[in-house]
């Protein structure tokens, strides 16, 4: 049956990555680049002793980033007496960072929830990451079965093209820049950000991070990013913020939403009446409702659908934004 094995001269990329992983995991003192190229299948068959191996070296560089993207912590060490000479840089993978901690197990119900969580990304920005993650979790034993978790098809909808680039930059602690349109003026500005966190707030994806120009934490709505998100070249990865710093930024945004309120009057038994749940409020006979909001422009969008059924009472800014939107639509379609 040996003929059915892959020929040593046709080693595929997955095989090569797997060989490299095993080699780095089980080396005692680490391996130099040359040792890897000379001995690991997938490289050694193309290695020319004493010749030009530059394309092989580039392949190794690409493979290193593939490993890192797969969550592998590559240890890169330079022996202390040998600094500056990258020929003796030594690579390895520590077992304790590679394997799941012992005693971690999932129940069938937990696994069923995780399967569904991965499913929520189907066709979406993080579907690849979610499905590779779930493949690993399935190797841990439990099969996801729970009679309570049936008949549910979740889909997270992140239509913003910037979503995946930002998510990657957050994982890699990479400073990014993008063009951002201010809703107040329509003015487009270049912004530079250390991205920390993606949040879904009131149906809107928001990236939170450290704005390098303003030297302060800032939130950006992804749908107002009008350009590609690009990594800022030649900048080191930023130091990830302390957990408390992130939580404070999250808190600040949430308390803004709790503080800002709008008041609208709703026509009884109209569609808006049910949408804003005035039938459920148990507030007697009032036809007014108070709504908390983070962003006056997002709230204005939600309200414009119900023209003729609602009247905005306050704040004035909301009244104006709703009206200006209708005027623009009427002009655009004149």
């Amino acid at each position: 049956m040996s003929e059915s094995k892959s020929s040593p001269f046709k080693i595929t990329k997955p095989e090569r990555l797997f060989n490299l992983t095993c080699a780095l995991l089980y080396t005692r003192n680490g391996l130099t680049k040359n040792e890897i190229l000379r001995s690991v299948p997938g490289y050694e068959n193309e290695y020319v002793d004493g010749g030009d191996n530059s394309s092989l070296e580039r392949k190794f560089e690409r493979d290193k980033s593939s490993l890192i993207h797969n969550g592998i912590q590559l240890e890169v060490t330079i022996p202390p007496h040998e600094d500056e000479n990258n020929q003796v840089t030594v690579y390895s993978i520590k077992r304790e960072s590679f394997y799941w901690p012992k005693n971690v197990e999932f129940t069938p119900r937990q696994m069923a929830l995780l399967n569904l969580a991965a499913d929520a990304w189907a066709g979406g920005s993080l579907s690849t990451a979610a499905s590779r993650g779930i493949t690993k979790l399935r190797a841990m034993g439990a099969v996801g079965e729970d009679s309570d978790i049936v008949g549910i098809a979740p889909r997270i909808q992140a239509s913003e093209p910037s979503f995946r680039d930002l998510n990657n930059a957050i994982s890699d602690h990479q400073v990014v820049s993008f063009m951002y349109r201010k809703p107040q003026t329509g003015e487009i500005q270049k912004r530079t950000l250390q991205p920390w966190l993606l949040r879904l707030v009131a149906g809107q994806w928001i990236v939170m991070g450290w704005d390098e120009d303003k030297q302060d934490t800032r939130n950006f709505m992804l749908r107002r990013i009008v350009s590609k998100v690009t990594s800022v070249k030649g900048v080191r990865p930023f130091d990830p913020p302390a957990q408390e710093q992130i939580l404070k930024a999250v808190d600040d945004l949430d308390s803004l939403g709790a503080k800002q309120t709008a008041k609208i009057k709703v026509e009884r038994d109209s569609e808006a009446w049910f949408k804003f749940e005035l039938d459920l409020q148990g507030n007697g006979n009032s036809d007014e409702v108070t709504i908390n909001y983070h962003d006056v422009y997002v709230l204005a969008e939600q309200l414009r659908e119900y023209a003729g059924q609602i009247k905005v009472l306050k704040p004035d800014a909301l009244i104006q934004v709703v009206r200006a939107g209708y005027e623009r639509v009427a002009n655009d379609h004149a």
Partner: protein, 330 residues
């Protein structure tokens, strides 16, 4: 789940790592059993096992490697033996991206009332972060939207296979009392929750918005065979033969329209910030509210009847025309 038809190099590498983490020395598994577990085809399992078998560490200090039983593989069974010193022998950790994708999915699920307690979600997120190779906290937070008690009833009905009776506000803005729905699946779509259900009146599958539903109650009527045999897809709207083809231009602030309404062909860029796409619309009068919502970030380009529907909606909203609702909207 990886798309079983389209594994790429990284998927295959990931599968090899996961398989070797799962396979125990000398145990035997059916290829089909492994295919089902990992959500890939049997061919992918056979391919991965062969690749694992070839992993050759002969040049290293430890001369052993995985030994695949190729005769067993020929007959549909996987059995490997290995030197414990020398191989991937346990499940690898997740990358930060993998952990944060799953963590975000979990929080999204918690917006569905009664599915999981927040403590349960939190406990799972903590396990995920211990399995993240950098031990990072979740990097995506999804804030659950509004909750709805009727969902608990719907989920119970799906579980035991019974119909529900509810009041439903249709698109004309009329509350229909006592509507019978045979519930099949709950679809979470962004911030909206739909019930895909069989409508015995129309003998067809329909999508119902749960936020337009009131007073859902379990009924004794079992879900019918026609309902159970119905094909469920991911679409919320199915175009009809008399639909109008409408061209729409959107700025980034309104790109979500391209997800909500499946364009009939790939959207095209018309300028640096603007994309154009075409959709099929049943009643162009419904476009008024859909387009006006964005306050200028979305525009109907053609046909003229669709443009004038949007213009009228906006003008009525401004109080410049008397307001009337479309008459035959569902």
């Amino acid at each position: 789940m990886p798309n079983p038809e389209r594994l790429d190099d990284s998927d295959r590498y990931n599968l090899m790592l996961s398989l070797t983490g799962f396979l125990v020395q000398e145990d035997e598994y059916e290829v089909s059993e492994l295919a089902e577990r990992f959500g890939v085809t049997s061919d992918e399992i056979v391919r991965a096992v062969k690749n694992i078998g070839f992993t050759d560490l002969a040049n290293f200090q430890n001369p052993d490697r995985y030994v695949v039983d190729y005769d067993a593989l020929e007959e549909g069974f996987v059995r490997i033996s290995y030197n414990l010193e020398n191989v991937v022998e346990d499940v690898p950790r997740l990358s930060s991206r993998q952990a944060s994708a799953l963590a975000a999915g979990l929080v999204y699920l918690s917006s569905l009332p009664g599915l999981a307690e927040s403590e349960e979600i939190l406990a799972l997120q903590n396990i995920l972060s211990t399995g993240d190779s950098r031990g990072n906290a979740p990097e995506v937070i999804v804030q659950p939207g509004s909750r709805d008690a009727d969902l608990i009833t719907i989920r119970q009905a799906i579980k035991i296979g019974k119909s529900i009776v509810c009041d439903y506000l249709n698109l004309k803005g009329e509350m229909r009392i006592g509507r019978v729905i045979e519930p099949l699946r709950i679809d979470l779509r962004g911030e909206l929750i739909y019930l895909k259900g069989w409508c015995p009146e129309n003998q067809d599958v329909r999508s119902f918005r749960v936020d337009r539903m009131r007073n859902a109650k379990l009924s004794d009527l079992p879900v019918s065979d026609s309902a159970l045999n119905a094909v469920l897809d991911d679409e919320v709207y199915h175009p009809g033969e008399t639909d109008t083809l409408v061209t729409i231009e959107v700025e980034p602030e309104a790109f979500s329209l391209m997800v909500d309404f499946r364009p009939v062909e790939e959207p095209v860029s018309v300028s640096e910030y603007v994309k154009s796409f075409k959709i099929l619309v049943g009643d162009v009068r419904n476009l008024g509210r859909i387009i006006s919502r964005f306050g200028g970030a979305a525009r109907v380009v053609a046909p003229e009847e669709a443009r004038s529907a949007v213009r009228e909606f906006a003008l009525k909203a401004l109080g410049e025309l008397p307001a009337t609702a479309p008459e035959d909207a569902e």
